[in-house]
């Protein structure tokens, strides 16, 4: 049951082969067993969760169930959920109980889905290993000595360890795709503006976008049907007609033009990862795809541009945490300035402070043109690279991350090395394009551990249905997405 697709679970619920309460309890039991070790969840509330499951069972009994009614979903702790502790992985919000629901939460509630709990994440979504979380790191279910990626590391580990049926994530520079790659799952970052940011704690507003993290493309499509949609409370939400993301799943791929950017296969890509990606491309050829060589010449600039724009926006967004109305306030202070400075010094972790300082610096008097404006100009060049590329291909493929999961602690003291984890994902955020990562195989490192590798699929604006089709067809002829890690049974468990 824990391995079943969302569609199968929906059918089992509809046929009363299992109730939502039983299904939810099964996941809660697994969480009880494995979460103390993996640390994927940082807020659980069995009472609330089971009440939602009971309500879902009533909806199913009344014959009003939708595709996700009664299905237990893990929510990244970046989404405000009324009455739930919502911390964004930070000490700053360690005691923050959200007084309202994010639109994403509202949509899952309306669909009758069950909120299993809130998942761990890098503090304020700033990180690529989940190690900046105030609530401790998350273990990669494929190898407990390694990181799950980040910032949606808790959601990725929860899906990989089957501690939920599916999960939500957010992606500002790769935070859905890189952990999906490192944990062997399917994750989709939609076109910027497709999923509402209302109630999603802001990091870099012009880049932040929420999306599904699940076991397959089909599951992601079902999740997208719930998550996508116009919301007037998000000023950058796009007013578009609702679409059915399942509609193209079964289309054949004959004649699909796949663009391979040469910059994604250059220096810096791990050889083992490169081989897995090449095998995946070969599989696509067998499915009828035509390979086109393309170039995204400004790819290398995406990281410098991102580390101006994202910290600049973060320094502005995070100025709201002042210890006045909510969040952490220092225990001892003299005057108002001292209260601000101490509350923020105590409430934020090292990486968040670094980014606020970078952002403050690049926005400070005299530097705006040299940094922020320049970065916005290069951002356009990066978007134009994609515009040109999509004249020659339908989707772009390459690695989602330059390596497989790395060891915990390996990059924690070297921010620049950590930032390079997102070299293949950031440009998509800057351009506002949709991107996904799907399991494409395993690469065995020097220590003999086989670790998952993600194939990235980048689509043109609003082309999510086609990308899901491209992913789904691959998942019909391969079983990488169905592989699950062998979890060591924790000692002393029932």
């Amino acid at each position: 049951m824990i391995n079943s697709s969302l569609k199968t679970l929906g059918q089992m619920l509809a046929k009363k082969e299992v109730s939502s309460v039983e299904l939810t309890q099964a996941f809660l039991n697994r969480i009880d067993t494995f979460n103390p070790e993996i640390n994927a969840y940082i807020a659980l509330d069995q009472q609330k969760t089971l009440a939602q499951a009971q309500a879902a069972d009533a909806i199913i009994a009344a014959g009003n169930a939708g595709p996700l009614t009664g299905i237990p979903i893990a929510q990244k702790d970046i989404f405000c959920a009324n009455g739930w502790k919502t911390t964004c992985g930070s000490k700053m919000l360690a005691n923050f109980v959200a007084p309202y629901d994010a639109q994403v939460i509202t949509q899952f509630d309306a669909a009758g889905a069950v909120n299993l709990g809130k998942t761990n994440m890098d503090e304020f979504a700033m990180g690529s290993s989940n190690e900046t979380s105030y609530f401790g790191g998350v273990k990669n279910p494929w190898d407990f000595t390694r990181v799950p990626g980040g910032s949606s590391g808790g959601s990725a580990a929860a899906v990989a360890a089957r501690l939920c049926a599916a999960a939500t994530g957010t992606d500002t520079g790769g935070s859905i795709r890189q952990p999906a790659s490192l944990c062997g799952l399917t994750g989709l970052k939609p076109t910027y503006g497709v999923v509402s940011r209302y109630g999603m704690i802001a990091f870099a507003s012009s880049l932040d976008q929420a999306g599904p993290m699940a076991k397959s493309a089909e599951d992601c499509a079902l999740m997208m049907n719930v998550m996508a949609g116009f919301d007037e409370r998000d000023s950058t939400s796009l007013n578009r007609d609702k679409e059915d993301y399942m509609r193209d799943l079964n289309k054949p791929l004959q004649g699909l033009r796949v663009g391979l950017p040469k910059e994604f296969f250059a220096e810096g890509l791990d050889a083992g990862v490169g081989q897995v990606i090449e095998s995946a491309i070969a599989e696509y050829k067998k499915l009828g795809a035509e390979i086109v060589e393309i170039s995204l010449p400004n790819t290398g600039l995406s990281i410098p541009v991102y580390y101006v724009l994202a910290p600049a926006e973060a320094s502005s967004n995070l100025s709201r945490y002042d210890g006045v109305r909510y969040g952490h306030r220092a225990a001892e202070y003299t005057d108002l300035m001292d209260m601000y400075c101490k509350s923020r010094a105590e409430g934020f972790g090292a990486e968040v402070k670094r980014r606020i300082l970078i952002g403050t610096y690049v926005l400070s008097a005299g530097y705006y043109d040299a940094y922020y404006l320049k970065a916005q100009q290069i951002r356009r060049l990066i978007a134009q690279d994609f515009e040109e590329a999509f004249k020659h291909c339908d989707v772009i493929m390459g690695p989602a991350a330059p390596s497989t999961a790395f060891k915990a602690g390996e990059k924690v003291d070297d921010p620049v090395a950590m930032y390079l984890q997102d070299i293949y994902t950031i440009s998509t955020n800057l351009a506002g394009l949709p991107g996904m990562s799907i399991p494409a195989g395993f690469s065995t490192g020097s220590d003999g551990k086989a670790l998952p590798v993600g194939l990235q699929i980048i689509g043109n604006y609003f082309d999510e249905a086609r990308m899901l089709n491209v992913a789904h067809q691959y998942q019909q002829v391969t079983d990488w997405h169905a592989r699950m890690p062998d979890l060591p049974t924790p000692q002393g468990t029932k």
Partner: protein, 104 residues
């Protein structure tokens, strides 16, 4: 344009984050590395390129000037931080938030 310890302290003050001498030194090293990465941008000729802030060519929506929210002061003030300086009470009084005196 290398950063100095004094620059770090000034930026930290602008960002309203207290930094100790030790932290300032460690931060200087890390920030210098990150700014080195950012410096790669300066080699690009961007003359005449329109800055991009949103991928779609959209304009800011306006809405009718009507009240859409209800008053939730009590719910919002329930999550106010503890006052501090020895008091565990919430930093609210008569529907207002309490902060150190700013006007003499």
């Amino acid at each position: 344009m290398a950063l100095s310890i004094e620059d770090i302290k000034k930026i930290a003050h602008l960002a309203r984050i207290e930094v100790s001498e030790g932290e300032a030194a460690a931060t200087l090293t890390k920030l210098t590395g990150i700014l080195g990465l950012i410096e790669q941008m300066q080699a690009v000729n961007t003359e005449g390129i329109v800055p991009m802030s949103h991928s779609q060519d959209v304009v800011q929506r306006l809405r009718e000037d009507v009240v859409t929210k209800t008053n939730q002061r009590e719910a919002f003030q329930k999550i106010a931080p503890a006052l501090g300086n020895g008091s565990a009470e919430r930093a609210v009084d008569s529907g207002l938030y309490l902060v150190p005196k700013v006007i003499e």
